[in-house]
């Protein structure tokens, strides 16, 4: 079944500074949508606004139903923040059980985690920690996944594996991804938006990015 997430009318002010003013995005099951933007332009605010953990004026519609605090319905949206978010005292086994994700399959893809089921998250390296949290969010049972700078701390070969996992999940989910490596976003996403001056602009090619001041050449 195809699901639709539509975001519009988002408006956010911080100390009278307008962060978001004219945002429109549409994500459907099977989409991988990229969101680009300079540092501090409001990408994270946009994601948290959609997720419902940041209060702002907005219209978030999922399957024709308006949702204000989407996070309260994990079956609709899951969100990977740009920082580590899994409590350090939990074991990998416990985290995978909470998200109802198969740990065996994870170790097949990332053998470095073999026999580490009972390791506490706090004892993993930054990259392994990121990989585990990214994987559970992508694989968990939900309709839409918001990934805020998911590839930070992860090695290129593991990024490729993660991209293949996203590919596997695409028939069942819609993805919104932010990242500063715009080439990777352009290659892996079927639609790209650039957030600039609080507004979203559709990006087709490098020329659009140059015109909007995101790249120089």
């Amino acid at each position: 079944m195809k699901h639709t997430l539509e975001i519009s009318g988002m408006r956010l002010l911080f100390d009278e500074r307008l962060i978001l003013s004219d945002v429109y995005m549409k994500i459907e099951t099977g989409d991988t949508v990229g969101l680009l933007g300079r540092n501090g332009c409001g990408k994270t605010c946009l994601m948290r606004g959609v997720y419902g953990t940041l209060e702002c004026e907005k219209s978030v519609i999922i399957d024709n139903i308006s949702v204000y605090e989407a996070y309260k319905k994990p079956g609709l949206i899951r969100y990977l923040p740009q920082h580590h978010f899994i409590p350090k005292h939990l074991t990998l086994k416990r985290v995978f059980r909470d998200f109802a994700v198969d740990f065996e399959r994870f170790t097949e893809l990332f053998p470095v985690f073999q026999l580490r089921e009972n390791t506490k998250i706090g004892h993993l390296s930054g990259g392994m920690h990121r990989l585990a949290e990214l994987y559970v969010i992508i694989k968990s049972d939900t309709k839409f996944v918001l990934l805020d700078e998911p590839f930070t701390h992860i090695s290129p070969v593991q990024i490729e594996t993660i991209q293949s996992v996203i590919g596997e999940e695409r028939p069942r989910k819609g993805f919104l991804i932010t990242d500063h490596l715009f080439k990777r976003i352009q290659e892996s996403c079927n639609r790209v938006y650039l957030l600039s001056n609080g507004k979203t602009h559709t990006v087709e090619n490098d020329g659009d990015l140059k015109k909007l001041g995101y790249i120089m050449s």
Binding site: Y51, K73, P74, Y79, P87
Partner: protein, 102 residues
């Protein structure tokens, strides 16, 4: 989400301050057992202060980890109301026990 999973997740959150809390409860119960009901008011305020301190410290040093619980549909408010209510009940229970054992 089933009931036991909810309890497990809430306990994971409670885990941030449960040991400090149990230590304070035990110290309060021992003091009440030693000195009687006259010290109860002071112990109650000490407990409230420790709960406020837990709230502040978790918000200050563990705020990023709220997203783990958001991903299961818990709001910050619901996490704190449930855990602090349980924590206070535990305190009252131990105080009553200390009074009866005296």
């Amino acid at each position: 989400m089933n009931f036991f999973k909810k309890i497990r997740l809430i306990f994971s959150f409670y885990n941030y301050f449960v040991w400090v809390s149990v230590f304070i409860d035990a110290a309060c119960a021992y003091t009440l057992w030693q000195h009687g009901i006259s010290v109860y008011k002071a112990l109650f305020w000490l407990k409230l202060f420790s709960m406020g301190a837990s709230f502040y410290l978790v918000n200050e040093y563990r705020k990023q980890e709220y997203f783990y619980f958001y991903n299961f549909g818990f709001s910050k408010k619901s996490l704190w109301i449930i855990t602090l209510a349980f924590d206070l009940l535990l305190f009252f229970g131990l105080m009553i026990l200390a009074c009866q054992l005296r």
